[in-house]
Symmetry: C2
Subunit: 408 residues, 2 copies
Amino acid sequence: MSAEASDPGKLGWMVGAPPPPDKIIRFSDPDYFSFPKLRWTACHFRQLMPTVGVSRGIGAPMPLERKLDPTIDAVTFIPLGSDKPMSWEESLAANYTDGIVVLHNGVVVYERYSGCLNDTGQHGAMSVTKSLTGLLGEMLVAEGTLDANAKVATIVPELAKSAFGDATARQVLDMTTGLRYSEDYADPDADVWIYSAAGNPLPKPADYSGPRTYFEYLQTVRKEGEHGSAFGYKTINTDALGWIIARVTGKSVADLLSERIWSKMGAEQDGYYTVDSIGTPFAGGGLNAGLRDMARIGLLLLDDGVINGQRLVPEAAIADIRAGGDKAAFAKAGYSLLKGWSYRGMWWISNNEHGAFMARGVHGQAIYIDPAAHMVIARFASNPVAGNAANDPTSLPAYEALARHLMK
Amino acid sequence: MSAEASDPGKLGWMVGAPPPPDKIIRFSDPDYFSFPKLRWTACHFRQLMPTVGVSRGIGAPMPLERKLDPTIDAVTFIPLGSDKPMSWEESLAANYTDGIVVLHNGVVVYERYSGCLNDTGQHGAMSVTKSLTGLLGEMLVAEGTLDANAKVATIVPELAKSAFGDATARQVLDMTTGLRYSEDYADPDADVWIYSAAGNPLPKPADYSGPRTYFEYLQTVRKEGEHGSAFGYKTINTDALGWIIARVTGKSVADLLSERIWSKMGAEQDGYYTVDSIGTPFAGGGLNAGLRDMARIGLLLLDDGVINGQRLVPEAAIADIRAGGDKAAFAKAGYSLLKGWSYRGMWWISNNEHGAFMARGVHGQAIYIDPAAHMVIARFASNPVAGNAANDPTSLPAYEALARHLMK
């Protein structure tokens, strides 16, 4: 079903008082997060489950200057694995974009909304959340609050017997831990489902005997292989990092993100995190926010930790991320569309000639930062396919083409 | 337990990663909304259950001018039923105030936070919510979108066979419907508990056979007595009004409140509503908001529907509320502390010489508007006792004394 045909407004999800029975989406529906319901759910997580806020404070937002470039829609590029050019405008429907904003030199040059999203709405950032958690972690490392070389067991003793115990904070930050954990969403027996059950905030069934919170689950993770040798993209690293952050700061990632960044970057909307049954924010994927606020995060990183005239993140933290991670370790993970990339502080580093780097989330969420082009792209989407291999062919070359266009 | 002894920070609710087991508050706890947990819960409903937002939009808030009056704390009054004077400052702890702000001529002259609340936090407005729903209803009546004399059955046919069917919209707005419905929270068999179960957004137990949404419940309400003769404070009137509003506007009360008021009054925070399992906002009690935004609502009513230089509500709607309802009908309800009051459009009208009127919610939530003194008071609280008979003795005379103080 195309983006147009699966538009949640057109399908009438949750419209009416009450909606027709076959148009109701509930958290208990096994397919609430599957296409095409996904196209509604992506903007309405708070309506399905408990959340905690990321306060922007109560002052005035930092306005983003606006000078739209009407020629962007016609920019063309060759999708990965294709030989037929596609226009920027065509790419948005091709990859089910719900919203995209492009900043050039800090000025909004392009902005579009579709599907469930508008400029005052909020959308699940999915694993883009990880990069925010990683940013907080790198910030604490740069400030000396978190020792990147310390073993996790010395920071969170409850994790001593788990696989995380003898990993360093740096290995967690870079996801080079050796963990027995399958995140294959297509496999019903994958560990990720046990993890999801643990993080589910609803009361557990009477016969449930598994872990009941993110923290309880993390303690059960067993080691597989060695730490430090290969990149393995596993969400539970980010939740372990969330726990580390909470332990060294005394604040949840939601509260710390608000205090250090969201309330100071001129955000125009509060964000929010989904939580487990004891209110722990889902550090690995629970952030929801407005699109332009995601772009502000991109600006903060583009400008080396400064935004709105204030330094919010030590320059060293951003420099560390942008320098990238271990390319050999990354290559072992075998991402065929991301040759030469690396992973550092929970950011994806292209190592291309523009020094571009990204936050990436399933179904097409992205913050793309191109320092050479002074360009930031924030994108929310609801692609039917979770893995970004479905989005990358029509997005990565589009971003590169747009960067070249803006540099002209 | 005193306000100081029951301070949620002091009691350590939900502090720590994870909190100690005996400090965890869950929605499934039978006492999550009982004192002393109530003192934490009042600021954290979204963390316990699904919600929908009331967007303020993305522009700059309307700043509230500030000129604090340091003499207010020493203002004294005689609590109802007492002969011993109490100071304004003493009253705040006596009735478990979580936050209170006083505007005089539109300027903040007093502001305090305590317990779970601060100036960037949000608090359950409880039945103050009703007055917002009523305001929307009166607005639609004044604009001609809703015929106050129409029978509910002609607006929401699904309610034709219920008690609401042959009531007029006006009778619903003024709660003079004759309904078989007990809202005695102390009685475990009271109808309010069936209603709560219907509105509970969590999946229902396998053996549950009752109504599953607010709308389903409303259709089951049976008539008792006649419509139009006596005031009977019953939350379900407000949810019926919420349904009426949704039907005539095509928008939920949350969306309509955002569109018509919240996004235009210069609010500094988004609000939110708790919802049932199909996303219906709890029009009778589900609003949560920042304290100063509640004060902005008060200003809007004080200034006859104008705020931030814009008319948001027809003057006739506010005039109708302020003129009050049927005093004889109100007297039949027997509120011994509210002699001479009346109820109109889901607002409580004192009919005193200042023309003061209020929004009131259990556990001490209030917006108090005194036109003669050009004074607005917004208050959030977590009094151990739900009924406002516990709050009124130390708040109503305090508000009157403060009005006299400010008029000097």
